[in-house]
Symmetry: C2
Subunit: 428 residues, 2 copies
């Protein structure tokens, strides 16, 4: 490392440490903020975003110009691009968060001990949350607003290609905080595009960051999961399965499988592997495969699947553990629900799996045995979504087993403490 | 590293990897075990421990002899020592765990969506839990039984001085599992006293270990927290505060403070710092300090505390952040509840704090603002205990903010998943 580089890293370290300290102080204040103040701030944020729309779009245009010049692909540019509609959607999204009930202070369990102590487990904010994401300006607004509503300070680190857009959006979020009398440092953006800043965040900024939430593709999430020294809510990939049992209704199975795969292929809840019960293959396999192919999906199958339709492509071992996020599905014939469960245990990502069957006993066996965040019976895997679960906004899906599993919404962004009320009790 | 050392490390790595794989397989099977089977196993474990008492005591005698020969201090030897009574207490502890309700399968929330999907958040085991502890043979039995009851496989790594004792106890636990038809690998002990084995556990054994729970002193917990690459439930220390407000009842305050400090000084919920409201110091300070000193406690105070009693020793800055675990307390006069809250935020360990006051408004301010796992009003900090909370057995107290906070009992040793039941729903 040259002296200049070393100095730069030291400067970034100092900047990040300051950012962390400000976040920590803001979190203490925000934890005590009443729901009305937080909701007023959210409404003011939405208003500021609407009022500043021209400024946000101008900043976005600068980002786009640079990203195009550096040869970013079309899909990347589309995720980066804002227009009046997308800016309005951001504002509406924040207003929707204002409408959600405030989780902080909610008593989730309460009991009285024989000695008269009354114990209440009560939701509290987590503290400081770091969000590391790609060049998607809308995440700046969504994540910032959702973390704040749960009483947390947030440090945002978006992709460097969206730097100007995010800066313009964060200015609106902070204006909203200020208008409601809340600390502006409750929402901060890392002020440098230097990649070493992410490293400091993943180390926790000296005990300042309580939680990291990565939002983005597999390589980003993998880096965060590997390097983070603080807890992470994330899913690396969604290798979601649909198992069509011998006792499935054929029409229902076809509709669920096509929807699970094809409704939107790019989301983490999209099905990537179809498992068909050998005992029902005669009735189901050709119909399922045909419907998928007719819908424009490539089917990669084992030899039995290939025999069902000449358009099936041979599957390799790798296909069983591939998240295509595309119009491709792997298909495999299994010996009943137990082999389906074993296949999912071996190749799955513990995200979301569905069984289609009219046999409730078989369904219960699947639902109990499959160790995934979400298991469904007779429903599409595409329901793996906080909104579809009725949680309101979500910041993503987690496949870890601690604290948050499945959709990460407001509740999952809180911690809790035990409040114990006595009348002079001492322990004997 | 010499070639011999390198070979040894490789051997340990291979041994640990196998151990992990067996634990993972056992966890899958145990996750499906009905409550009756787990309870039968627990009762059989207790019976085996009683039946094998002579063998356990003989193994313990060998451990003690070696530990004495290597010059371990008396307190260490006392923790290591077993006798008939202590063995019986282990057996009874396991039987008490058998009596607790099985958390696995419990539905903690349930709702139906407008489209008819029925969603149930359901408790599941976490998977594989690693326990790293000091030379206290009883932890082997407690931790092994509690983790198993919650459906988890457990890998036990106790202090090397208790190796023979732990081995004898684990044999009884595994006999109990076998008798109930459950996989013996659900409870495994690291078969080597080599310290590198702990390192492999803290790395997670290649994704096998879901959670580490350290049980022991500060240096053990600090090592685990620093090195672990998997989630940890622990508290580093319990610097617990009692704040006596201007509106406190003097008798109640004295009883609570003396109990919080002196009932047992060696537990993490023992008070380490007394904060007294300046506005009530005239009424409270001398009485509190006198009662503590009369009870045999050294009081280290600031100048105002020193002025209240000539026996008070001067406190230094370091005292405010010291966990004495002894008959010593730091005492400080503060300007009301807000300075108490600020002092706790600065010096505390987010474990357990208590306010003594008859003013409910002041109490609420304290209970809401203090960011600790347990906050009490008019009660002793020594209630920071799973048993006192009515949770049954506990494996320790956690001060982290995610998943488990406060006492870690059966519920905290479970994860959850969403079970979604439909009738053919697809997402539009």
């Amino acid at each position: 490392m040259s002296l200049a580089e070393e100095t730069a890293t030291q400067t970034i370290a100092a900047t990040m440490a300051e950012l962390g300290q400000r976040a920590r102080d803001a979190a203490s204040r925000l934890a005590q903020a009443p729901a009305e103040a937080k909701n007023a701030a959210l409404r003011a944020m939405a208003a500021a975003i609407r009022a500043d729309c021209p400024h946000i779009l101008a900043a976005n245009a600068r980002d786009l110009e640079r990203a195009e010049a550096s040869g970013r692909p079309a899909a990347f540019l589309d995720r980066l691009r804002l227009d009046r509609e997308r800016v309005e959607a951001m504002a509406r999204g924040i207003e929707a968060i204002a409408e959600l009930p405030d989780p902080v202070g909610e008593v989730t369990a309460e009991w009285t001990r024989p000695n008269g102590l009354r114990i209440a487990r009560t939701r509290t904010p987590i503290g400081v949350i770091g969000i590391v994401y790609e060049s998607r300006p809308n995440v700046t607004a969504d994540a910032g607003a959702l973390c704040m509503k749960a009483g947390n300070a947030v440090i945002l680190r978006g992709g460097s290609d969206s730097f100007a857009s995010s800066e313009a959006i964060v200015a609106c979020l902070r204006a909203g905080l200020a208008e409601a009398g809340l600390p502006e440092a409750a929402i901060q953006m890392v002020p440098t595009a230097d990649r070493s800043a992410v490293g400091f965040m993943l180390e926790g900024l000296g005990g300042t960051i309580d939680l990291i939430v990565p939002r983005g593709g597999k390589s980003l999430v993998a880096r965060v999961q590997t390097e983070a020294r603080v807890p992470v809510f994330a899913h690396l990939e969604g290798i979601c399965h649909v198992y069509v049992d011998r006792d499935a209704d054929a029409d229902m199975a076809r509709e669920i499988v096509v929807n699970a795969k094809m409704r939107r292929t790019g989301i983490c809840g999209a099905a990537e592997t179809l498992l068909v019960d050998r005992a029902g293959a005669d009735r189901h396999l050709a119909g399922l495969v045909g419907a998928l192919i007719d819908a424009g999906c490539e089917v990669r199958g084992d030899s039995e699947v290939q025999a069902a339709d000449p358009r099936v492509v041979p599957a390799s071992e790798e296909d069983w553990s591939t998240e295509y996020l595309d119009r491709i599905i792997a298909a495999h014939v299994v010996d009943g629900v137990d082999e389906a469960i074993a296949h999912i245990a071996r190749y799955g990502s513990q995200h979301t799996e569905s069984i289609v069957t009219q046999n409730t006993e078989t369904a219960d066996r699947f639902l109990t045995s499959v160790d995934s965040a979400i298991v469904l019976h007779n429903a599409s895997t595409q329901f793996a979504d906080g909104g579809e679960f009725g949680m309101g906004a979500e910041i993503g899906i987690a496949t870890g087993k601690l604290h948050a599993r499945g959709p990460v919404g407001l509740e999952q962004l809180t911690s809790f403490k035990y409040i114990v009320r006595g009348s002079g009790q001492t322990r004997s």
